[in-house]
Symmetry: C2
Subunit: 254 residues, 2 copies
DNA sequence: CGTGAAGTTGAGTATGCTCAACGGTGGTGG
DNA sequence: CCACCACCGTTGAGCATACTCAACTTCACG
């Protein structure tokens, strides 16, 4: 199992690796068990062993690019540590983030000729990389494992549908509430407190994910604080105070 | 190969089957070759034979429901004829259409416990239905076929990403232009004229797909006509007059 | 403790929505 | 076969949500 460390600097405004930030998400990153990358769909110990044979481990500094949109989609990744964003850009610079990935998520499935989006490290992060060609061979050998890949894809498709509803029909308030609850659920999945959130991404990232302006994110969060729905200790450190009310808002019931 | 005709009436405002409309899309519907359902990803004759063994043929009248959101996702469909819409509803009635399906498209992959959306016939249409359990068995037997299912899912994910960009960041003009070009491409795939479109869905469906109001669809189309980008013989009969300009608008370059 | 990036707040505005009236088309019944 | 009616689509006027532009504040890092 080789270890590759891709050293590409992505955007000018992005910081260069800083040792401090390498560990502040999933303290110590070295505990990158592939198991992490699997809880979503319930891969068995046996599946993991097979996958491990063809995987390489890769690390990325904040802002680094895992792969670019349209690049040949010859690798699939599973995130083991940190936060990754999937980014689509328009010629004039408008940016849409189609999703954030946390430990346990698969990355790079969406493709059609090339990748459907660029993938960038939000925090320092680590991932396993699987060459698609070897994955294909493996799948032919273990069709039961392949069926699990189908299940992962089905799950991801369902998530994309939710995002489409959010972007097509929800108000700014509903979008932000939905997002906070999403972060909460994902934190819970990783065994972290579900009502004390550490926001790993910037307001700009949140805005580009929710299809609004950064100012709208700020205003809405302030609004929620005013309604005692959340507490904001610091910008990146938010407490959920009334999850039920937030859920009502998220689904448009309030 | 059994033939099931599900006779569920979906919404009150939807018409009951009418013989005339059963045939006006893909004259004659009886020519429902599974091959139709396969050009996207290039299934081989052999794959089709295997799939045919476990499929049943189903027909739907305009407005009928193929399946409901949250229902157990135990069937996957391939559309052979007509137009199908994927619908998500919010409690207060807001509606988002996450996509339209044409002959050759697969349906029902997006699921997580249950289906991620309801599927409804826009026009009269026909489909093949594959029980997931039997599909699973088949896949274990023919892993090469299963890999093609993964490819279909990857393609669908890429499409969902495009829709996310559209809904998150594009203006109304850009959305409508993108949609017209999408219809054009899909028509071309089916061997139909690519600049003389037959719009099979209502303005309301278009609006709910593009995340705008129906009035905005009307206004934008009128605008495009005024700019000589399109011709509108009748509401459902649109000619593309300047595909290049439309493409520029669609990607935000104009 | 200074500096620059990130986040918040405010004021004014624009895009697209809502509400409403009008027009056309197709299907149905006389 | 024609006429009516209902529904779908179009157009218009006013308005609201969220954006843009700009100033100010806070925080992280050196």
């Amino acid at each position: 199992m080789a270890t590759i460390n891709i050293e590409r600097i992505s955007h000018l405004h992005e910081a260069v690796p800083r040792e401090r930030r390498w560990v502040d998400e999933e303290s110590p990153c070295k505990a990158c068990a592939l198991r992490h990358a699997a809880y979503v769909i319930g891969l068995e110990e046996e599946d993991l062993r097979h996958l491990r044979e063809i995987s390489s481990s890769v690390n990325f500094a904040p802002g680094q690019t895992l792969f670019e949109e349209h690049e040949a989609a010859d690798r699939i990744f599973s995130v083991t540590c940190g936060t990754v964003r999937m980014v689509k850009l328009m010629p004039d610079g408008r940016r849409q983030i189609s999703g954030f990935l946390f430990p346990g998520d698969f990355l790079g499935l969406a493709a059609d000729e090339g990748y459907a989006y660029s993938a960038e490290a939000v925090t320092a992060c680590a991932a396993f990389s699987y060459p698609v060609s070897r994955l294909h061979q493996l799948m032919l050998k273990y069709p039961e494992l392949e069926w699990k890949l189908v299940a992962i894809a089905r799950h991801e498709l369902a998530e994309a549908q939710d995002q489409i509803l959010l972007l097509g029909r929800k108000t700014a308030r509903e979008r932000v509430a939905t997002f906070l609850l999403l972060l909460s659920q994902r934190a819970a999945l990783r065994g972290k407190p579900e009502d004390s959130l550490t926001i790993t991404m910037s307001r700009e990232d949140m805005a580009d994910y929710l299809g609004v302006a950064t100012e709208t994110i700020s205003r809405t969060l302030t609004e929620f604080r005013g309604e005692a729905l959340i507490g904001i200790k610091q910008a990146k450190d938010i407490t959920l105070r009334d999850t039920v009310a937030l859920a009502d808002i998220a689904e448009g019931a309030a």
